[in-house]
């Protein structure tokens, strides 16, 4: 009877741990039991050495070469994306600022118009300096301004793209 045959039962419970031992994935107690067993069992010790060989070889696999200019292509893509993101932020900022400006101008003119007209400027039956009417008119103006701004910004972006 060989050493290993005499240890078969013990080996069966240990052998499943051997690949994990090579991967450094055993719990401390499991590792201790495995080492203890391996000291007494030449066959398992040998098997553990083989798995360790796999572990070492896997850490030294041939390294794949980086494709030509992958770094440069990635950098160019990211720079383009940075520029696009900056454009989007700028567009949003500009639209916000223009909307705010339009509302401020609208409100200022409302005050001025109320002072000049004494609070009443009736055209076709509607009092234009009433807050609701004036707000509705201002809203239309704001959206028109935003649309014009969006068109202008889109044109500018297209020009920049063509230039690039």
């Amino acid at each position: 009877m060989t050493d290993h045959e005499s240890n078969t039962t013990a080996c069966r419970s240990i052998v499943a741990w051997l690949p994990l031992a090579a991967a450094g994935a055993l719990e401390i107690e499991e590792q201790r039991r495995l080492e203890e067993h391996a000291r007494a069992c030449p066959a398992c010790r040998r098997e553990l050495e083989i798995w360790s060989g796999y572990s070492q070889a896997l850490g030294r696999l041939p390294q794949p070469p980086l494709p030509a200019q992958l770094m440069e292509r990635t950098r160019a893509l990211l720079i383009k994306e940075y520029a696009a993101a900056a454009d989007r932020r700028w567009d949003a900022l500009m639209l916000g600022a223009l909307a705010l400006f339009a509302w401020t101008v609208g409100l200022t003119f409302w005050f001025v118009a109320r002072i000049i007209t004494g609070g009443e400027l009736v055209v076709m039956g509607a009092n234009l300096v009433r807050f609701g009417t004036w707000t509705a008119g201002s809203t239309v103006l704001v959206w028109l301004t935003a649309a014009v701004a969006a068109l202008a910004l889109g044109r500018r972006r297209n020009e920049l793209r063509r230039a690039l």
Partner: protein, 200 residues
């Protein structure tokens, strides 16, 4: 060498600084971070998807996604794990898109590895010690399911801890262990099948 650079405190603080600048929207910092991780990330993607063109595409997509999401990156997390998990998720999406299946589908439900008892026969790997062992292993690794290739490369090439692998792959620690075991067992079976009884 890579590990040495990672463990070097100066290199580490340099990387942290670059990541912090990247979060503030500095494109030069992003370039520095890409330079630092390019070889490892590409290797990981190539091991995962096997096709250089797909790995190349995923590499670029990963950095685009990193740029988009860097504002939401929790600096208390390990950047490396976060970066590789971004790449992992993109690879899964790409896999689903191309084949209508998940990267996780293949391999995990495979038969448990044979409980190989130690034998007196010489091992195929040992016989190949002086004969392109690494190249042979790399070839055999390609035969494994993607999820097994992934855990092997993360554990042995990227030298990640099990907890990091779990974070990257989005799986429990116990699954990492079972995948590692199956992957190693599969690799050894592939080596034995490909190089039976070969002596150095």
């Amino acid at each position: 060498m890579i590990l040495a650079a990672t463990m070097n405190p100066e290199a580490f603080s340099g990387a942290q600084e670059a990541i912090a600048r990247m979060r503030r929207g500095d494109p030069d910092a992003l370039t520095a971070v890409i330079s630092r991780y390019q070889h490892r990330l590409y290797r990981y993607l190539l091991r995962l998807v096997r096709e250089p063109a797909a790995a190349d595409d995923l590499f670029q997509q990963t950095w685009l996604r990193v740029m988009e999401k860097i504002g939401r990156y929790d600096a208390s997390r390990n950047f490396e794990s976060w970066l590789f998990s971004v790449a992992h998720n993109l690879a899964i999406d790409s896999w689903r898109g191309k084949r209508g299946e998940s990267l996780n589908d293949a391999g995990d439900s495979a038969e448990p590895p044979s409980e190989r008892l130690p034998s007196g026969d010489p091992d195929a790997l040992e016989q190949l010690l002086d004969f392109e062992r690494g190249a042979a292993l790399a070839v055999c690794m390609l035969e494994l399911p993607a999820i097994h290739r992934e855990v092997l490369t993360l554990r042995f090439e990227e030298d990640m801890k099990l907890e990091q692998i779990a974070e990257v792959a989005g799986i429990p620690l116990s699954t990492v262990k079972s995948r590692l075991r199956r992957a190693l067992d599969g690799l050894r079976a592939a080596m034995d099948a490909r190089f039976p009884g070969r002596r150095a």
